[in-house]
């Protein structure tokens, strides 16, 4: 359960869950802002780009896309690793992908830190309708999906990109019941939702807005009709989309794929029952999660999800109780960003609006597995400059007598499950040791490779 709701268990967390009970832990995680996370925020306080507004970023960093992406990436990884609001960070990642924005170029990379700070993070466990509305007014989103330059005045045909994706990807889904005509009309409804180029702030431009002939003549989109209120029509349209049953089903299905398994289908009972909770609670996300975590399907599915690189890296860092030095911010950002690139999940750099895939097949190929193993080798051996494992914390205080005990201790404290006897023997053979060999002080030298073997094994690849 802890593996599913968090970036991975640590001895401290497991002890906490055992002391307050599983239900109390879930309740705690569902109320993230009741938890004090000042320590994590202090770790990333040095990342200046995170709190700058677009104009400041442009003035300070010019074309330095890489710098901004590196700080966003590293903040995401460090928060996933260290935050006490573990579930909240999982949800931030979920919505970052649901409302994916590719930072291919400027101005997107000046605009995304604001989207992260003011759209995704404040709404990640609020109401979906609020999140959707905030995203629709996000300069980064409007630029990425071309709505910022869309105009419907005069002879102009509005750009359909955002209007299409807001239905296809953000809400009702491709089979949500709309047609090409509806897309064209939605583009009219949202025409004029734009970005002030100088400040990088959202602006509604009435002079570029036009409802178009069909809607003006009484037509509808998925049962919604405008009342000729300019921007108010767009708000009402998005509020309508957020509450449609197709949206409820689609959002709950994606959440079920995230928290239960790749095989869950939109028609499954657990999705349907969660969708009713979504609708009964006016799109509030917390009751939806509460219901999912209460389902049999959730409890029956442990270990069935492949960890994406974005899950794997924080999980390894947590398992190894890695300490990072916040004064080494720049080197750390470089190492983390390069690592995510090599592992094939460069955060904020997925070009299609779909977001990174959340199914195992997308992340497992022979090259990807090798990179995962090598990442475990690198991180366990302390070869990543700003990231150092803390093996004494991994081992803990309980006494050990044999090398077998040592292997068991690592397996238990890195994986939090019983090690497969075949894996245990393979690791002992790999270390050139027997299970009954007495533990000697120089066996400390085995720690990095022992940790690497454990983190390369099957249980470490899944959650």
């Amino acid at each position: 359960m802890v593996k599913r709701l968090t970036s991975g268990p640590t001895p401290e967390l497991v002890e906490h869950v055992e002391s307050i009970g599983v239900q109390a832990f879930i309740a705690e995680q569902l109320d993230p802002f009741s938890l004090d996370d000042a320590e994590t925020e202090a770790l990333i306080a040095g990342f200046a780009t995170l709190t700058m507004d677009p104009a400041e970023l442009r003035a300070t960093y010019g074309e330095a896309r890489r710098y901004i992406v590196a700080e966003l990436t590293t903040a995401a990884v460090l928060r996933a690793t260290y935050s006490v609001r573990q579930l909240y960070e999982v949800m931030v990642d979920f919505w970052t992908n649901h409302f994916n924005i590719y930072l291919r170029d400027q101005p997107e990379f000046y605009l995304k830190p604001t989207d992260d700070r003011l759209v995704i993070r404040p709404n990640a466990m609020g109401r979906f309708a609020d999140l959707l509305l905030a995203s629709a007014q996000s300069p980064a989103m409007l630029t990425y999906l071309d709505n910022a330059t869309s105009r419907a005045d005069g002879e102009h045909v509005p750009n359909e990109n955002y209007a299409r994706e807001v239905m296809e990807l953000h809400t009702v889904g491709v089979d949500g019941g709309y047609d090409e005509q509806d897309v064209a009309e939605a583009a009219h409804v949202l025409s004029g939702w734009s970005v002030d180029r100088r400040s990088g702030q959202f602006v509604f431009r009435p002079d570029r807005h036009d409802l178009g002939e069909s809607l003006s003549a009484g037509g509808d989109i998925l049962g919604w009709r405008p009342s000729g209120e300019g921007m108010g029509d767009g708000i009402a349209f998005l509020e309508h989309l957020a509450r449609l049953p197709q949206t409820a089903e689609r959002i709950c299905w994606k959440l079920a794929v995230r928290f239960i398994g790749d095989q869950v289908g939109p028609g499954d009972d657990v999705v349907q029952s969660t969708a009713s909770v979504y609708s009964d609670n006016d799109t509030a996300i917390v009751p939806v999660l509460e219901h999912l975590f209460d389902s049999e399907e959730f409890w029956d599915s442990m270990g069935a999800k492949v960890r994406r690189p974005a899950d794997l890296v924080p999980a390894m860092m947590r398992a190894l109780q890695v300490q990072v030095d916040p004064t080494q911010g720049e080197g750390l950002a470089r190492d983390v960003t390069t690592g995510m690139e090599l592992l094939g999940q460069p955060l904020f750099s997925w070009s299609p609006p779909t977001g990174f895939p959340d199914v195992g097949g997308a992340w497992m190929n022979a090259g990807a597995v090798l990179t995962r193993w090598n990442a475990a080798q690198m991180i366990s051996s302390g070869s990543v400059g700003a990231i150092t494992p803390d093996f004494s914390a991994v081992i803990g205080d309980e006494p050990m007598e044999t090398v077998g005990d040592l292997v068991d201790r690592f397996a238990h404290r890195l994986l939090f499950e019983e090690i497969d006897p075949g894996d245990r023997q393979a690791i002992l053979d790999g270390l050139g040791k027997g299970a009954a060999d007495p533990l000697r002080p120089e066996d400390e030298l085995l720690y990095p490779q022992l940790a690497a073997f454990v983190l390369e094994s099957h249980p470490a690849q899944v959650r």
Partner: protein, 410 residues
């Protein structure tokens, strides 16, 4: 072979493999294949060189008879006196002597005004459509090359399909046995103070299930790949200087090594970016476009040298998501356009300039029209060079007859 550990792992997994095959039969797709060579593959290799960013076809295959080309590009055109002549209408960029030589020898097919019919000028949309093989539609989940490989057979040889890079290109998406690798040299266990051969042997003992799930299967594929690479003596080495210093050179070098090692490679994807020249494209003698084509020429020419002895079993196709605006912009560059140039290279082709040429008098929103569908070029390659029985199935929604083919494979 790097050590005792590796050999024993190979034997043990080989025996386990036979056991599993006996129990599960040939339908069990999750079984790594250990044999070297092309005993069950098609024996054909298709290499896709994708020029990412939108290559300006007009700078590569220059329509030097078109007045519009020179009037709309006062500072970035290739003058008629500088081109390497191909036909009456077209000439090559002067920095591409290897292309010229391959063209003269009849190995190189050039198709101007080629591309995807979808009108998108967005990089990601245009690439996405092109790689799916279904312009205008995103309902097909797989890439076109993945569909081709699946149709060709269920062989799970881990070196059957390779994408050079950290993630698989969308062209191979949906083919489970495809590998993303940066290169043979880096396709190795990182020991960091520990013997990689022992790590490999240990992982072989950890991932030894005869009834593998996804993770187990891909782990076994990884180990089998490491063994195949070692078994074929492919330690890997950096690309020789003659390939040039570019992603195209590095990538094609890796592919040439795999082709020549007989590891059963049937599909390879190499990406070469840097073509998005909105500003300062440069002249035919110096600048960014010049440097790009110098790299391209060296990479493709050297690749051909290294695979020529394989005869007609190897085919390289070169394409880009779109070409560029005919008129240069105020920054002496060219914005996103439409039609570009496709190239096909291989022994046994009938080289030449193929396809219709719509001229530059009538443009598509200021861009070269796409009159030669890239799918028709690929379909001809698949059917006549890559053992495809039904190329139409690779491109759903596209109707064509073999009679429509441009005819460069005959």
């Amino acid at each position: 072979m790097t050590g005792i550990g590796t050999i024993s792992t190979t034997r043990r997994r080989f025996v386990a493999g036979i056991g599993a095959a006996g129990v599960l039969g040939a339908t069990h797709a999750w079984l790594p294949r250990l044999a070297f060579g092309q005993d069950s593959g098609s024996g054909k290799t298709l290499v896709q060189l994708f020029l990412r960013g939108g290559q300006d076809g007009l700078s590569v295959v220059v329509p030097h008879q078109e007045d519009q080309y020179y009037s709309l590009r006062p500072s970035i055109s290739v003058p008629p006196s500088a081109i390497l002549p191909l036909t009456e209408q077209f000439g090559l960029h002067p920095a591409m002597p290897r292309f010229k030589e391959l063209y003269d020898a009849g190995h190189l097919v050039l198709v101007p005004a080629a591309g995807s019919p979808d009108p998108s000028r967005s990089h990601f949309d245009a690439m996405d459509f092109m790689e799916r093989g279904t312009p205008g539609s995103k309902t097909e989940p797989d890439g076109w090359l993945a569909r081709h490989l699946k149709a060709l057979g269920t062989d799970t040889n881990p070196l059957r399909a390779v994408g050079i890079g950290t993630m698989l290109p969308a062209t191979l998406r949906g083919y489970d046995s495809a590998i993303a690798m940066q290169g043979l040299e880096s396709f190795a266990i990182t020991g960091r103070g520990f013997d990689p051969a022992v790590i490999e042997a240990t992982l072989g003992a950890i991932y030894d299930s005869s009834d593998p799930d996804l993770v187990e299967y891909q782990a076994q594929q990884t180990l089998a790949t490491l063994e195949n690479i070692e078994g074929a003596g492919l330690g890997g080495s950096p690309a020789p200087e003659r390939y040039g210093n570019s992603d195209a050179g590095r990538g094609l070098w890796e592919v040439a090594q795999l082709v020549n090692a007989d590891v059963g490679l049937e599909a390879a994807c190499v990406d070469f970016g840097g073509w998005d020249l909105h500003e300062s494209l440069g002249t035919h003698q110096a600048g960014r476009m010049h440097d790009q084509v110098v790299d391209l020429d060296a990479a493709v020419g050297s690749f051909f040298d290294d695979i020529a002895a394989r005869g007609d079993s190897v085919t390289l196709v070169m394409m880009s998501e779109f070409g560029r605006r005919v008129a240069e912009n105020a920054s002496a560059g060219a914005d996103h356009g439409h039609g570009s140039v496709m190239a096909v290279l291989g022994v046994g082709l009938t080289g030449g300039v193929y396809g219709e040429w719509p001229g530059l008098e009538v443009l598509d929103r200021g861009d070269v029209q796409v009159v030669n569908d890239y799918r028709l070029v690929l379909a001809e390659v698949l059917q006549n060079r890559c053992a495809s029985a039904d190329p139409a199935a690779v491109f759903p929604g596209y109707s064509f007859e073999p009679g429509d083919y441009l005819g460069f494979t005959t």
